[in-house]
């Protein structure tokens, strides 16, 4: 019984966040657009030579995905904090870490998953070939949930702090570094013909680790923010 009402609360959170995203039909498209724009800025800055672009392609794509994730972090808790919904959430008779998990899942569905879906197209624009494209998608599929998990900790820590947009970047980016290295590394090595499996399994390990640790850390951070 307690299990079912737990599930009830978590799915309630996910549903509400998705509903909110649907309310602005544009919201889900947003991080995708951002990704596309950032990715297109690079050739503008760097110049149009295909060889150079092919070399930096995986790195640029991964950095852009990471930044898109970072930019959307503001959405995870800030609004809830300001309008008092977070207060109510902490008072829900369910373990807070679980509810946090629900919020992160919703965040990923809205801003991480569309990025994964779009990435092959962008990879094509940078001249990646078939197999590398597969590795790119796979690496993002494993990596973006990790980014959301880690990001949530940062977002919770900076609640109610001024200039938090940049502060959260500062807190979170160092933690993102391993994910970036493994993710871009997987694609690069598959382009070099070495195959990306090693890096991909490291990414998987990151994901599992963050699944176990992040919700608790986030829950603790939220309680502190509300005291």
């Amino acid at each position: 019984m307690s299990g079912s009402s737990m599930w009830e609360a978590v799915s309630g959170i996910i549903r509400r966040d998705l509903l909110l995203a649907m309310r602005r039909r544009s919201d889900a498209a947003m991080s995708v657009f951002f990704l596309v724009i950032v990715v297109s800025l690079f050739p503008l800055g760097v110049g149009p030579e295909p060889a150079v672009l092919r070399t930096i392609g995986p790195g640029v794509l991964w950095v852009a995905a990471l930044l898109a994730c970072l930019l959307s972090l503001g959405r995870v808790f800030t609004a809830d904090y300001l309008d008092g919904v977070l207060e109510q959430m902490v008072l829900i008779p369910q373990p807070l870490a679980l509810l946090v998990g629900g919020k992160v899942v919703a965040h990923w569905v809205i801003s991480g998953f569309p990025i994964v879906l779009l990435s092959p197209l962008l990879g094509l624009q940078f001249g990646l070939s078939g197999e590398s494209l597969g590795v790119l998608v796979m690496s993002l599929l494993l990596g973006t949930p990790t980014l959301s998990m880690i990001g949530a900790i940062g977002a919770a820590l900076v609640l109610g702090v001024r200039g938090s947009g940049l502060l959260v970047a500062l807190l979170v980016l160092p933690l993102y570094v391993p994910v970036l290295i493994f993710g871009a590394g997987a694609v690069t090595s598959s382009m070099a013909g070495i195959g990306g499996e090693a890096n991909l399994s490291l990414l998987g390990a990151c994901l599992v680790l963050s699944l176990f640790l992040a919700p608790w850390a986030t829950a603790a951070a939220l309680r502190i923010a509300l005291e």
Binding site: I37, P43, P48, L124
Partner: protein, 254 residues
């Protein structure tokens, strides 16, 4: 003053609605006819290109679409500007109606360009100035439309997206001239007033026919969309000349 039509009369949605209704079929018919002629000339009269073979025939959709994409943006910005200046609802509605069609042509220019790029350059996409700037134009259309849907209050949405459209128009000339600032894979203008045309005249004719057809198509579609917008936005339907179907049916239903 006494002769001719009083054009100001049509600046109110009530008067414009029926006028648009009368114009749509004409534009649509002429557009379809010209498109037919243009396609015939494009596929059966225009000769094979000695360099690119048959692939060049993509030009008959690519170039008109690319031109329309830029042209429509400017037109949208002009309507937006009129709306801001005169606080005229109709102008905002026109701007709102133009954006989706403009975005569609931008998308088509990108798509057909990619289709052309694969056989001629060997790549679907290169980051050349013309291509990138067309992509940027797509983002500007997306920005205008997303800004509008993100704001609930219609009045505010109108004015906010108008401000953005106006600011963005600064970018259009930059997009257009970027080819010259950046030596580039994509070809520059081959149709220009000064030098005349370098193309075979039948090709050129077909292309121009298609352009005019796309243009008329856009007008028809935009007028139809502006009528939809009017129905959606006016809470009390007070059209004078022609009673829209809605009201007639309603009256019958009672």
């Amino acid at each position: 003053m006494s002769t001719g039509i009083n054009w100001l009369k049509y600046s109110s949605p009530q008067a414009f609605y029926p006028l648009a209704g009368h114009l749509i079929p004409w534009f649509a018919c002429v557009a379809v006819a010209l498109m037919g002629v243009g396609l015939y000339m494009g596929f059966f009269v225009a000769p094979t290109d000695f360099q690119q073979g048959e692939a060049y025939r993509i030009i008959f959709v690519h170039v008109p679409a690319a031109w329309m994409s830029m042209f429509l943006y400017v037109v949208m910005a002009v309507w937006a500007g009129i709306g801001m200046g005169l606080n005229a609802r109709l102008s905002f509605m026109m701007a709102q109606a133009i954006a989706p069609t403009g975005a569609m042509f931008t998308f088509l220019a990108l798509l057909t360009g990619a289709m052309w790029g694969k056989p001629t350059w060997g790549a679907w996409w290169v980051w050349d100035a013309r291509l990138t700037s067309e992509l940027i134009l797509l983002f500007q259309y997306a920005g205008v439309m997303l800004l509008r849907t993100s704001i609930d209050d219609v009045r505010r949405a109108d004015r906010a997206s108008a401000v953005f459209a106006l600011v963005g128009v600064v970018n259009v000339p930059i997009i257009y001239f970027s080819v010259q600032w950046w030596n580039t894979l994509h070809q520059g203008a081959s149709v220009s007033m000064a030098t005349g045309s370098k193309m075979a005249s039948t090709m050129l004719t077909a292309m121009l026919l298609m352009t005019v057809a796309f243009w008329l198509y856009s007008i028809a579609v935009i007028l139809a969309r502006v009528r939809c917008v009017m129905i959606e936005r006016e809470s009390s339907p007070v059209w004078n000349d022609e009673k829209p179907a809605v009201i007639q049916e309603t009256v019958e239903a009672r």
